[in-house]
């Protein structure tokens, strides 16, 4: 029985090996091109094994990118925006989520329905009025201008409500008997318990912030305010004038590095975040 199971597994992996390889080829190719000299790439992109093996190997593209160009500025902007957005969403969604799940107030049901209806509004339906609003406020070309629109999206609140509803009331009652007020309970009891849910929200937000394209495209017009995602798009469209294919691919690799590392470390949370975020909008 055991051997049959093993044989079936072996068969399955053999069958999946080719699709898996094909699936990886585009990414491998990008990494490989980023490690080849620009002069060679101008001549041919299929030097060794269709260009999938970086030979001759060079790190010049990365060195050049970090020495000149704006990639490091864009990278820094992305980091500030993504971290700012993550912290902001965490603060707003834990407080509001706790209030909706555990506190009583007048008009709770109505407000909750109003907030959940906000899940139906796609970014594309509000980016034009947001643009005019931010123009009036003078918020374009700034970090907060890129952070704030996403803070209003209720998906994080929704995840936190689901979590806080699942915590047993006993913990809270015990703390209340010990004389803790609502704020102390929230800070010392609920937040430590909520760490996994907060991780889910944080990762969902960070990934979204890092990869967001439409709003930065509209709001950040000066190159020194670009995020790395946006900067990469501008490199693509000015491809002919840029320093070469290898450099462009190297900036693609740099742009992907943080999210790929984040994903590999926190895979469990990413998968959870996708499952929760996916099934609820």
């Amino acid at each position: 029985m055991k051997t049959m199971e093993n044989r079936r597994l072996a068969l399955l992996y053999t069958m999946l090996a080719l699709p898996a390889f094909i699936w990886m080829v585009p990414t491998l190719w990008m990494v490989s091109l980023s490690l080849q000299p620009n002069a060679l790439l101008a001549r041919t992109t299929s030097n060794t094994f269709w260009g999938l093996i970086p030979y001759p190997l060079t790190l010049d593209n990365y060195v050049n990118l970090l020495a000149h160009g704006q990639v490091h500025v864009w990278f820094f902007n992305s980091l500030v925006v993504a971290l700012g957005m993550t912290i902001g969403v965490l603060v707003l969604s834990t407080t509001a989520g706790y209030a909706f799940a555990r506190l009583n107030f007048v008009g709770k049901k109505t407000l909750l329905v109003l907030v959940l209806l906000g899940l139906m509004i796609p970014e594309q339906a509000v980016f034009i009025p947001l643009y005019t609003l931010f123009s009036e406020l003078g918020w374009h070309n700034s970090h907060h201008g890129l952070i704030i629109p996403r803070l209003a999206v209720p998906i994080g609140v929704f995840i936190m409500i689901q979590f806080f509803r699942g915590v047993t009331r006993d913990v809270e009652e015990a703390a209340r008997i010990d004389g803790a007020n609502t704020f102390q309970i929230f800070w010392h009891v609920m937040l430590p318990l909520a760490r996994p849910a907060m991780m889910t929200v944080a990762i969902l937000t960070f990934l979204y912030a890092w990869n967001d394209y439409l709003w930065p495209l509209v709001s950040a017009q000066r190159t020194e305010h670009f995020t790395i995602t946006l900067g990469l798009a501008s490199l693509q469209s000015n491809f002919a004038q840029s320093e070469g294919l290898g450099s462009v691919m190297a900036s693609g690799v740099i742009a992907s590095m943080p999210v790929v590392i984040l994903f590999l470390i926190f895979q469990r949370y990413v998968v959870r975040a996708v499952a929760v975020g996916g099934s609820k909008g």
Partner: protein
């Protein structure tokens, strides 16, 4: 004494409300100011003749024109109604109607649901019948083709992603290291940004330097410039999108597979069902709800496609890959016509809202 108790109670209530609002206020403020208010403002802009540049320099340079923007998008001159103006679309409606009636006959659909579906289809059939007649033309020649391209894109991407990710999820739903590794591998492309994905695939499909072209050349073929070739450009975008986004669907299917009782699969094994039979008779019927949800979710997600078309093909060739969000973006920020662009955004919202409502109903149905 009793009065005192009542005032205390009332005060406790007020205090409770105050405390709750301290927690709520930050989010509610941001939510109203940066989501609800802009949304309302968007609808308001859509009722105006509103030029971005003109209004920026002179806030009074807009005029209220009611629903004219919507008319300019949806309608044309000399509009006439014919029963079979669009045989393909109307034929699909008839097929859908037959499908729903069949589902009702085998008892999988309630009478009220069937009735609602048929009414919607009838309405669609009627709307599809309208077109500019003799000597007439659409006010906006690009709008409906753009919507059509978007629908076509969704119709290609969603089934492809659903089928591939369902097969992968079924194959990789086991607790071995190899399966975990392959899951990671197939999910990885999902975390890349749209600009990285388009960078890769733009190069992949390049006629001179692309990997596809290099391989074709190796086998003696003549490489195509996919992104500039009519018919191939849309295919290229679809391939890039499928590669990019099977991850979410796969994860949702894996979650759905975890919910299938283990005994059922054991029983199938004891009955010597092979894997194809097990897939067909055990997994598929049990995943019906998940499949429906994944399909609706994908429709909502991919209807908003923008980056792929904007960066890989710039909507070309001949507008073949022009999609709705890109048209909104261009109308607003290249043509500066915020009124029309906002009307299109409202149209997009209505479509998204319909699918969100369906999603909500489906997910509520399985909680019952």
């Amino acid at each position: 004494m009793f009065e005192q108790f009542k005032t205390d109670l009332r005060w406790a209530g007020v205090r409770q409300n105050l405390v709750a609002w301290v927690f709520l206020l930050p989010f509610v403020f941001v939510y109203v100011a940066f989501l609800i208010y802009p949304f309302g403002r968007g609808v308001w802009i859509s009722l105006h003749d509103w030029n971005l540049l003109a209004v920026t320099f002179n806030p009074d340079a807009k005029t209220f024109i009611g629903l004219d923007n919507y008319l300019r998008l949806f309608w044309g001159t000399e509009m006439t109604w014919r029963a079979w103006a669009r045989p393909v679309l109307q034929g699909l409606c008839v097929l859908a109607a037959v499908f729903f009636v069949w589902r009702y006959r085998i008892g999988e659909l309630r009478w009220s649901t069937l009735w609602q579906c048929l009414m919607v289809l009838l309405l669609l059939m009627f709307l599809f019948g309208w077109a500019p007649g003799e000597g007439g033309r659409w006010f906006d020649r690009r709008f409906w083709p753009t919507v059509g391209n978007t629908v076509f894109f969704v119709a290609m991407v969603v089934p492809a992603i659903t089928i591939i990710s369902l097969l992968l999820a079924t194959a990789l739903n086991r607790e071995t290291r190899g399966a975990a590794f392959l899951r990671t591998l197939f999910f990885l492309s999902q975390v890349l940004s749209v600009t990285v994905v388009t960078l890769i695939w733009q190069m992949m499909f390049s006629a001179r330097q692309g990997l596809v072209a290099n391989v074709v050349r190796e086998f003696g073929g003549v490489p195509l410039s996919w992104l500039a070739e009519p018919g191939f450009a849309m295919a290229a975008i679809v391939i890039a999108t499928v590669w990019w986004s099977i991850g979410i669907a796969m994860v949702l299917f894996l979650a759905g597979l975890q919910d299938i009782p283990q005994e059922m699969q054991e029983a199938a094994k004891l009955d010597r069902a092979n894997s194809v039979q097990a897939f067909w008779y055990i997994i598929l019927p049990n995943l019906k709800r998940t499949i429906t949800l994944v399909v609706i979710l994908q429709i909502i997600l991919h209807f908003q496609v923008f980056g792929q078309a904007h960066l890989m093909t710039q909507g070309g060739p001949n507008d073949q890959t022009q999609v709705l969000v890109r048209y909104i973006y261009q109308t607003a920020f290249r043509d500066s016509d915020l009124g029309i662009a906002s009307a299109m955004a409202v149209f997009l919202f209505v479509i998204m809202a319909v699918f969100s409502a369906v999603q909500f109903m489906v997910s509520r149905e399985d909680e019952q």
